[in-house]
Symmetry: C2
Subunit: 134 residues, 2 copies
C-alpha cells in the first residue's frame, strides 16, 4: 500500500502534505505525533494544514488518533479487516514513549453490565516495550 493508492481509494485529492503524512506513517510502522511527522517530511507545512490533513484522513478512516493521558497526541494508519467484535489495542512505552498499534493482537470486549452496548473501544496498554526491556 502506498500513499497515492490510499488517497485514490478514498477519493481524496493527492496533495504533498497528505502524501507526506502517509509515507511518514507507513515507513515508521508506529504512531507518530504531528511533530514527528513534520520532521520526517521535506515540505514545510503550516500547522493549520497538518491539523486539517489529519482531520480529513481520520474522517475517511485512513488514520486514527491515539491520545495518551498526558496530552500526547499521535496518529496511526488504520488497518482494516478486523471483525467488528474484535478490537485492537495500542501500546505506549513508559520509557521511550513509542506508541504502537498491536495489530496482530485483538481482544474481545467482555460483556458489560446489562443495558450497555459496545460499539467501539480504545485500549491503551502502558508498560515497557521490547526494545527498552533488553
Amino acid at each position: 500500500m502506498n500513499p497515492i493508492d490510499i488517497l485514490k481509494t478514498h477519493q481524496l485529492k493527492r496533495t504533498v502534505c497528505r502524501e507526506g503524512i502517509l509515507s511518514a506513517l507507513l515507513s515508521a510502522n508506529k504512531a507518530l505525533s504531528e511533530e514527528e511527522v513534520k520532521s520526517k517530511i521535506d515540505g514545510n507545512f503550516d500547522r493549520t494544514t497538518f491539523y486539517r490533513s489529519f482531520k480529513t484522513l481520520i474522517e475517511h478512516n485512513v488514520l486514527h488518533k491515539i491520545v495518551v493521558d498526558e496530552g500526547l497526541v499521535k496518529y496511526a494508519i488504520t488497518i482494516v479487516g478486523k471483525t467488528p467484535e474484535h478490537h485492537h489495542a495500542h501500546f505506549v512505552c513508559k520509557k521511550c514513549h513509542t506508541v504502537s498499534c498491536l495489530d496482530a493482537f485483538t481482544f474481545k470486549v467482555p460483556n458489560l453490565p446489562s443495558g450497555y452496548q459496545t460499539e467501539d473501544s480504545d485500549l491503551l496498554i502502558k508498560g515497557v516495550c521490547k526494545m527498552c526491556t533488553i
Copy 2:
C-alpha cells in the same frame, strides 16, 4: 468515604476547592469534567486552582483522568483494591457523553507479544449506555 477523610488519609490540606471537587465526584457517581464540577459546587474558583487541585489529587492517587479522543477531559475517583493484573474500564456514552467507571467490571489484559510488559492500562469502551438505550 467523605472528602475530609480522603484528604486526611492522603495527608493533603483540607481546602474548600478540594473538598468541593471530591464531594461533587462522590455524589455524581460518574466522571465529571472541570466544567461539570464547577457547576456542582458553590465557591467560584479560578481555573488555575482547579487545574492545580486536580493535579494534586491525581498525583496522590485520589482521582484519575479520563481523556476521550475528541479532547474531552473528565476526572473520576480512584477506587482501590483491584488486583494488579485486573484492570478496570471506562465507558463513554456516544449519546449523552456520560463517562462512567465500570468498577465492578475488571478484565485481564491478554498476553502481549513477547518482550512487552504491561504495567497499566486504559480501556475506554464507547457505545450507548443503559439510560440512552431505553
